[in-house]
């Protein structure tokens, strides 16, 4: 009778073990924080080209950071592709990512190289996107509201309960917005602005892309989002318009890092180099993601917001990407703004 118990146990163990253990040797575990289509296209293309089996796990940048932090002692992922630059900088600061200087570095735009320099080459920019407004043209027309053009427009009473921005406690996008306002106006005025804005906000969704999705579905009129996300929605068939604030705006540098202690380090480096080539960077546009690619040789898609025509502030990633400053600003926001009545 015991034999049967043991047999059953063996079979069960075998099944469990077999399901859990990666199969082939040439593999790469990719944590991916861009849209799933892009993740999948990049993985498929890389797999076709190299024969390395890529496993993709698509998660928001905050979740990926939490995960690699939890796994720091014993990392499971190899490479973290995409997502706002700040969490990547944080990971670099916390020694969660590995230093790597790709040969392709010289071919990148300055902002991408700066990201690498700031992090002591633990991360690199792969795309950039400007922060701006998205709005539902139909909804605004129905309610006879003019679209916003400047940061100050958002404070006007016509946008009462019409604006969404993400919650900076969980979203990198929202933090970029706060850092941008602070850099534009100085900290005290910036918080006065945020308090005033608070009255017009109807919700702070948890995810960075949440507000623009709400705009697209007509659940809210205006969102503070990355412009390229608004373009994606418009191409998806929704009545979404976008604008870059007239006072100037911040931007994100979508980044890529190799996770420290990666088990497939060689494959991760190979992907890293590949992801900086024009051919790989074009995949974004092919999957309807219109960020500006970081390789100078990559053609910028026509639909993408032209970075050269946008008034961008000189975003200080080194300062505002640091964990301590980040935590301080977010806590101040939570204390002073989030608790206000509307």
């Amino acid at each position: 009778m015991l034999r049967r118990v043991v047999q059953a146990a063996l079979v069960a163990t075998a099944l469990v073990a077999a399901s859990g253990i990666a199969r082939a040797q040439g593999s790469l575990n990719l944590y991916c924080s861009v849209q799933v289509e892009w993740c999948q296209a990049a993985a498929n293309a890389f797999q076709r080209e190299t024969g390395i089996r890529v496993s993709v796990s698509q998660k928001g940048s905050g979740e990926v950071l939490a995960q690699i932090r939890a796994e720091a002692q014993n990392p499971r992922g190899d490479l973290w592709f995409g997502g706002t630059g700040d969490p990547h900088l944080q990971a670099a600061e916390e020694n969660l990512s590995a230093e790597y200087r790709s040969a392709a570095l010289d071919g990148l735009h300055d902002w991408a190289q700066k990201q690498a320099r700031d992090s002591h080459y633990r991360t690199v920019g792969i795309y950039a996107g400007a922060l701006g407004f998205g709005f539902n043209t139909e909804l605004l027309a129905r309610r006879n509201i003019a679209a916003p053009a400047c940061w100050k427009d958002l404070l006007e009473p016509r946008f009462r309960n019409e604006i969404q921005m993400a919650n900076p406690q969980s979203s990198g996008t929202a933090y970029v917005m706060i850092a941008t306002i602070v850099q534009l106006m100085g900290e005290e005025q910036a918080f006065d602005y945020l308090k005033a804005l608070h009255r017009n906000i109807n919700a702070y969704p948890r995810q960075g892309t949440g507000p623009i999705k709400s705009v697209a579905r007509g659940e809210t009129g205006v969102s503070i989002s990355f412009v390229h996300d608004a373009v994606t929605e418009r191409l998806g068939g929704f009545p979404v318009g976008s604008a870059v604030p007239c006072e100037g705006s911040g931007y994100e540098v979508g980044s890529m890092s190799i996770i420290r202690g990666a088990r497939n380090l060689r494959n991760a480096q190979r992907f890293y180099d590949w992801a900086l080539t024009p051919a790989a960077q074009q995949l974004g546009a092919e999957t309807k993601q219109f960020q500006t690619p970081s390789n100078r040789a990559t053609p910028v898609p026509a639909e993408a917001p032209q970075m050269s025509q946008i008034r961008l502030i000189d975003y200080d990633f080194a300062r505002y990407g640091a964990s301590a400053e980040r935590r301080r600003l977010i806590e101040r926001w939570d204390r002073e703004v989030n608790t206000l009545p509307r």
Partner: protein, 732 residues
């Protein structure tokens, strides 16, 4: 006893000699070395090779203990001596192996004082693999054989083995993660133990503020959670009662369709209900658009927040209340009501003075079940919560938010656990004291009276619109997978389906293939394990008497009271480091499924066991059968319907779980529910719903198959009645 000791020693020895001790990242097939060299390899070698070739002396117990056990089994010594030897070798070997596992980790000694004791450690070790898992397991069986030999568990080796293995499993997979996690609540930000840390976090205004009563924008999340729980508990109980009364006493031919309707929410992946609600009641939803075009009324965003979450949870959990209450209503003895009517009570009086009071324990049960389910729910609040935070979502964002705070997550988990356990004990006290419903299975000659007309009208007025709303909700929500742009462009299309499940060039290139296949695989692996473990432990708890049974039973139930988010975090926390390095593998997800769904299987198993006369087991014992014979030949065949129900339930739960596994999935093991969540978060509703439709179809097929299988059973008079699939119906 001797046979059990012999076999377990043999298995342990074989595992120590042949199976790779450590977890091999790429599987056994990838062993790089030809011939027998792998036996001495530092990564692939079994315990024997590790000790002899790699100088890992601390694995010596893995060899010596089984050898000693074998010796004890083979030597001609008296029974008590043999039992004592089994006990000693099994216990000592197991203890030493566990100790070395925790003492030597990925960076050598795990604590400085060990280094002081033994000198510096150059070596390091990763998590245990097949060998490292099987040897201790077999030693546990050896220990059990020893216990049985000393007269514990009625001297039955099988019972002893089952008890020891279940105790170990519960300790490892339920107690340890929770204890570790909750320990975090007592650590400050630096990770040092500080009792004050808990109170600091507990005193947080964000938890307990009652500001919203005074006009502040929000109340503390604890109050939110409790309020939502009470509302959901009351609402689901009322709705469930209306449905149950109508189906059982309403003299309607609605029973079958209503029962199927109640199955739907159980097989629905999370978020789909929330999406349907947005589609109907959202700002651009059907109702809102109609209101604004017909009446010029802007309904706005009311759905985001308490109303939306409440509505979604009512839809999701009413079936559970219904399933609980229909059992209770059917179990009412009509004789009592007939007695009342012969005492000159009008139908109305009878209903008010006899029927309802008799239902009271069932109502309490349903209410508290709704309360607990609502507190543990993660999917609905995250889609519809808006600014309305509840503990389950707060915990999630405390872990993944921009400021990850494990201590806060642990503290919130502690609060949630306290609430859930409080409800659980309240329910136990309420229903244990007075259960009026007999499950003796004795025939009752009475005829149930029809509902009083007024009550019937009330039930109809509540139930029918709700049923209609449910159907509309599902039709609309599921249609989202087959239209161009959900909520905007209703041109029919298979675009999303193709995107999710495309097959091109013989390859599964669709986006959802990977996750759906993983989900089905893991669910299919975990369901039999869950059902088996549930039945075995139900048998153990209801038939065997041993010290600590009550504690073990309670520990088993813990995972039901604990919300999934807490379990997920706890698992990640407990199984990321050696020796049990399960994070990132399918095994951790399987373990999570198994131990999270175990309580339900256990409860329904125990309910079914209660209907099997213990003298059947005893008859088997006195006829020379051991515990294993009684279990396999007598209990199992009689429990077949319960096993089938447990199997299906475990499978369905595994297919639809989200909160517990969201932290456990990795690239290799992404689950369909997590895929759906991410699509929803990105606004890809079409894709999300397309995948959900496929999942629902799969589960309905499963349920149908199960019905067919159960239908063909041969059972005599004393047979157990097939319990309906009751998610915790009998539990909490």
């Amino acid at each position: 006893m001797r046979a059990a000791g012999l076999w377990s020693s043999l298995v342990a020895l074989a595992a120590a000699l042949l199976l790779p001790w450590y977890l091999t990242q790429d599987g056994i097939a990838a062993a790089p070395l030809a011939g027998l060299a792998w036996l001495a390899d530092p990564d692939f070698g079994p315990a024997a090779g590790q000790v002899l070739a790699q100088g890992r002396w601390w694995l010596l117990p893995a060899l010596l203990a089984p050898a000693a056990g074998l010796l004890a089994a083979l030597l001609p010594i008296p029974r008590p001596a043999r039992a004592a030897l089994f006990l000693l070798t099994g216990g000592l070997g197991l203890g030493l192996l566990i100790a070395q596992g925790y003492a030597i980790g990925v960076q050598g000694w795990s604590t400085p004082w060990l280094e002081g004791l033994f000198g510096p450690m150059e070596d390091r070790q990763f998590g245990v693999g097949w060998g490292g898992a099987l040897v201790p397991a077999a030693l546990a069986v050896l220990l059990a054989a020893g216990l049985a030999g000393r007269g514990a568990f009625r001297g039955d080796a099988f019972t002893a083995t089952v008890a020891v293995c279940i105790a170990l499993a519960i300790a490892v997979f339920t107690a340890m993660p929770l204890v570790l996690l909750l320990g975090d609540a007592f650590r400050d930000a630096g990770g040092a133990l500080a009792a004050g840390a808990l109170f600091g976090r507990l005193a947080d205004d964000r938890l307990w503020s009652l500001g919203c009563l005074a006009g502040a924008p929000r109340c503390g999340v604890v109050w939110n959670t409790a309020l939502l729980g009470v509302l959901v508990g009351a609402g689901t109980t009322a709705l469930g009662l209306a449905f149950a009364l109508l189906v059982v006493r309403g003299r309607l031919r609605l029973g079958r369709p209503l029962r199927w309707l109640t199955v739907l929410p159980i097989v629905t992946p999370p978020f789909i209900l929330g999406l349907g609600l947005i589609l109907i009641f959202g700002r651009s939803g059907i109702v809102s658009l109609a209101a604004s075009s017909l009446f010029g009324v802007e309904l706005g965003r009311w759905i985001y927040g308490l109303p939306g979450v409440l509505l979604a949870q009512l839809f999701a959990f009413t079936p559970i209340a219904f399933l609980v209450l229909i059992g209770v209503v059917e179990g009412l003895s009509p004789t009592l009501e007939e007695a009342s009517s012969t005492l000159r009570a009008t139908p109305r009086d009878t209903f008010r003075t006899v029927t309802l009071p008799l239902l009271r324990p069932g109502l309490a049960n349903a209410f508290l079940l709704g309360f607990v389910e609502s507190m543990a729910d993660f999917g609905n609040p995250i889609v519809l919560g808006g600014q309305f935070g509840v503990l389950a979502t707060e915990i999630f964002f405390a872990v993944v938010g921009a400021q990850a705070d494990a201590g806060r997550a642990a503290t919130l988990s502690l609060v949630l656990l306290a609430l859930a356990l409080g409800a659980f004990f309240l329910q136990r006290r309420l229903t244990a004291r007075k259960s009026y419903v007999s499950i003796g299975g004795k025939g009752d000659a009475g005829l149930a009276p029809p509902l009083p007309a007024g009550v019937r009208r009330l039930c109809l007025a509540v139930a029918l619109p709700w049923a209609g709303l449910t159907v509309a909700l599902y039709l609309l929500a599921l249609s989202g997978g087959f239209v161009e742009i959900w909520g905007r462009d209703y041109t029919p299309t298979l675009r999303h389906m193709i995107k999710a499940f495309e097959i091109s060039g013989g390859q599964l290139t669709g986006l959802a293939w990977n996750s759906v296949i993983t989900t089905v695989t893991l669910a299919a692996i975990s369901a039999p394990i869950t059902a088996a473990l549930g039945i075995v432990s139900a048998w153990l708890f209801s038939r065997a008497r041993f010290a600590g049974r009550g504690a073990l039973e309670f520990a088993t139930m813990l995972t039901f009271a604990v919300p999934g988010t807490v379990i997920g975090v706890a698992y990640l926390r407990a199984f990321n480091l050696p020796p049990l390095e399960l994070a990132g593998t399918g095994a951790i997800i399987v373990a999570c499924f198994v131990f999270r769904n175990l309580p339900v299987g256990l409860r329904s198993g125990m309910a079914a066991m209660a209907q099997i006369d213990p003298s059947l087991d005893e008859a088997s014992h006195t006829l020379g059968g051991g515990g294993a014979d009684a279990f396999r030949r007598v209990v199992l065949p009689l429990l077949r319907p319960a096993i089938m129900a447990g199997l299906v339930y475990a499978f369905v739960r595994a297919m639809t779980t989200i909160s517990a596994v969201i932290f456990l999935v990795t690239a290799d093991t992404e689950l369909a529910t997590v895929f759906i969540v991410n699509r929803v978060i990105n606004g890809d509703y079409g894709l999300a719903i397309a995948v959900a439709v496929v999942l629902i179809a799969l589960m309905v097929v499963m349920l149908g198959l199960a019905q067919l299988l159960v239908g063909r059973r041969r059972i005599g008079r004393r047979a157990a009645v097939a319990p309906p699939i009751q998610p915790g119906g009998t539990v909490a």
